[in-house]
Symmetry: none
Subunit: 206 residues, 4 copies
DNA sequence: AATGAATGAGGCTTCATTCAT
DNA sequence: CATGAATGAAGCCTCATTCAT
């Protein structure tokens, strides 16, 4: 990891062609990371798979890690859109606990189903720069806070601390689904699994 | 990572001196991995910290991966001893569900508290050879099976599938504690957290 | 540096606009060379500072060397105009030795004062193509010859060889002023320095 | 040029073999620099000419510039030994001005005769780190100071400022010989040239 | 067995130059 | 003609591994 160096994209693509190139690079990086892991994702491999030359990669990203960061950000954006959407949707009309949890589980499942391996490489294997790690942390904390306030408003739940409960909820959903998607246990259908996760948390909160 | 190469220690250390050297190398590798991450753990760094020369490292390990594998095995051994001990202890006398879960949680906590960072590097960041990954998987499955049969014997639990339940239990404990140790949420004591995890699972199973 | 390639400007700028562009590029190259040294003077940097695209640079110069060569030629032209002017002025009316040397020193000082750093980069740091180096050499020899014949005509000088004397004169003036401008010794005024150089050479020739 | 980075040798060679390797690398670097200039002196070229692999180069030098620095230091050492020796020799017994200057000229000639092109590349073409440039400057100033005090003690010299005179002496000798060695003017023998330089300075100082 | 010097493939990055728009 | 995106050879450097001592 380049320390303190520029990690943000180098140049905003002005022409249409450039935007395509950047997209191709990010897509290629995702594929290569998924297939070969962090160590195997060389800049040459990424460029080749993107169908461009290394030079083009460096026209838009100051170094290899910047590609990674861009990818993580793309994932974070997607994730936060999904979760924010879910929260907004839920906040409006009153829902019962089970429906709430189920939505949450579904959203998380959707988030992980796309490319679970890439997710793993990106968030576990890759040595992300500290700043990005902090942002991730902050983001997860905020999300947990939202869930906490949501739980606090639900009637009929006995909790000592909504914050603690929210943490447990957020992290067990995240952890369970992550592990399920990455190492699916034999003979268990996703739907069955999701129902069980919902049962786990409803039992906990009620 | 050299794939498909020999990964088992090159030579069984027969003499005392050799055994010490191997231990020193493994200890050094653990420290370096913890401090510098996977990328920073060069063979030179490990050798230096172990107080031996690179040549000596290759006297006992055929390649860098083998060190990593040995380290993972050491951790697995420790873990399986801990968990097996717990299972044995529990199997003898009848315990109630809560006590059972609590023991499990405590064991897992003990497993992670030692050097959480090393654990993370070893099991998430490092690109373990496929064979080892399979062994880890198999081991976890076996453990889940043990838990399943244990649960099946407990009276008063309504479960559709002990296997599924065991999976949920094993993975949520593992996931929650892992994340708690690595990214401790603000203002939450370990003890409080453990109690909450227990509550989560007891609520689920009962 | 591409050796043996075409080094003369690719296309004579016929139109006003082109001439401006070429001038802008040369000016930019001078600035960039001065600020960033030879290594830092990339074609992109030059184009950017000139306010044109790299493509445009290559419209007028077949390669990077050609820019450098043009710049050196510009400097040589300026220098030879200055020195030729001085020689012409001196040849007409009879001057005494001291005035002659003083003029020479002043001209050389004027030549170096403008942008000493650029001068250094251009003539020392940059790997000029051999052909240009030869031209520079030839030019300096011719100039020394002129000085030699001038000295030969001056009465009252005892010299074994006007050629040798001229060489000594030309090169010591050049060398002293070059070094003075680039690494000014502490607490010495330019004027004082010039007088001293004059004294040196007058003492030598008389 | 690596900024602020380590430029001093990486590892003191302990074994005899290492010392040979370091010597070979420095020698090779000198040759390559001389033949190919700064730009052409790639690490691979140096390693190849030294008969070792790139890796070996980096075992002893942290980066390419460190080789250059070592070379410059070697030259500086040689130079300062030569000049210091000359100064010491001269300080003891009383010498007349001409003999003094002559010694100086001879020493400088000796310094430049070895590998004049390398000298040029090293001190003019190569972008030396600022710290080294300062050391060079300081060294040259000290030497000029020594010469100044030497001159101050000589009887029968009329100088307004020994410091200024010393500067003129040091720099004109250095400049003239440098240029003579690098671009020898046609039909002038070194001995003739040296005598002329001596004449120049004796005429100046007396 | 131990040492540490030597190896060299391979990764990251730059930048002169070309070319499609 | 101008633009700036694309190219890719080539340079620097690292580090797992081997080998002479």
């Amino acid at each position: 990891m380049a320390r303190g160096a520029a990690l943000s994209p180098r140049k905003k693509p002005r022409q249409e062609r450039s935007r395509q190139t950047v997209a191709a690079i990010l897509g290629a990086a995702a594929q290569v990371l998924e297939r070969c892991g962090y160590a195997g994702a060389t800049t040459d491999a990424i460029a080749q798979r993107a169908g461009v030359s290394v030079g083009s990669v460096y026209q838009y990203f100051p170094n290899k890690d910047a590609i990674l960061v861009a990818l993580v950000e793309r994932h974070m954006d997607e994730g936060s859109r999904l979760l924010a959407g879910m929260l907004a949707e839920v906040r409006g009309k009153p829902v019962d606990l089970e429906a709430l949890i189920r939505r949450f589980v579904d959203a998380m499942m959707a988030l992980h189903r796309n490319d679970p391996k890439l997710h793993r490489v990106l968030f576990e294997e890759a040595p992300l720069p500290a700043s990005l790690r902090r942002r991730l942390q902050r983001y997860e904390d905020e999300f947990a806070e939202s869930v906490a306030s949501l739980l606090a408003e639900l009637p009929g739940l006995r909790m000592e601390s909504p914050t603690l409960a929210a943490h447990i909820v957020v992290r067990s959903i995240e952890g369970l689904i992550h592990s399920f998607v990455l190492h699916p246990p034999p003979d268990i259908e996703p739907e069955t699994f999701c129902q069980e996760v919902v049962a786990l948390l409803v039992g906990y909160l009620r």
